[in-house]
Amino acid sequence: MTIDPDWIWGLFGGLIIGSAAALYLLVNGRIMGASGIVGGLVDGSGWSTWRERLSFIVGLVAIPPFFVPFYSEVNTNLTGNLWAVIAAGLLVGVGTRLANGCTSGHGVCGISRLSPRGMAATGFYLLAGGVSVLLFKHILGVV
């Protein structure tokens, strides 16, 4: 069994993600959930804290491109099937708001607090994600 360098980068990147969530919790007193931060701005439920939300989004959107030149190639490898992209975006948008969280809020912040809701949500979206890849990639071959 060999260690794939991607795993090490994954672990390192994960530690950075966890540090970001820790900073947001300990300094700002907020849970770092991407769908909640964006969703509150989209549907108006979080307009009273719009500056804090927008600042987070600006950092999240504007900073990663500065690190892209350090890589020989960065590719999101997103499927060229735009119908699939639209359907996926809609599902992610509706689903994360119904569930009140996504991979960052329920996954990173919920599991680390041993939250039953975070762990249950993570179980359900992992299950659906696995079925989705099986169905759309292997059976239907649309992505």
Binding site: V58, L98, V108, L126, S132
Partner: protein, 143 residues
């Protein structure tokens, strides 16, 4: 000050997503692809992220108040309700279909091309549609 730290958290989050490889949709789909060429990288990312965050929760729950004065969010009632399950299943289905969740979708928008933008617009549309869909689910459930 809040907004400065919020920006820093967003910047760190985005950097971690880039470094970990989670902006590459094929790595996310690879993790979900249990029946194909399974890629365990995401487990290292999640594990790496949970580690600092678990420590942060211990500190936060002892201090009760964040550095900038905000109360640490209370634990949600451990109720795994209908919307949590339906929402997480929908989110997972979309996550598997495109390989994007809200955080990486934002972090990669600067270099993700047209497809990335289409995903983000669709996700925002889904977030706008979520409140009426949630009410619809409640009506069906009561009927």
């Amino acid at each position: 000050m809040r907004n400065v730290f919020s920006f820093l958290s967003g910047a760190l989050f985005g950097t971690g997503l880039l470094v970990s490889g989670m902006v590459d949709t094929t790595k996310v789909q690879g993790w979900l692809d249990v029946f194909g060429a399974w890629d365990p990288t995401l487990a290292f990312v999640l594990g790496g992220a949970i580690l600092p965050m678990a420590i942060a929760w211990r500190i936060a729950e002892r201090r009760k108040v964040a550095v900038l004065g905000t109360a640490i969010p209370e634990r949600a009632a451990p109720k795994v309700g209908r919307n949590l399950i339906i929402g997480s299943l929908m989110f997972g289905a979309g996550w598997g279909l495109a390989g994007l969740c809200p955080g990486p979708a934002l972090a990669s928008i600067g270099f993700g091309g047209v497809g990335g933008a289409v995903f983000l617009v669709s996700m925002i549309a889904g977030m706008l549609a979520a409140p009426p869909i949630s009410q619809g689910i409640d009506r069906v459930a009561r009927a």
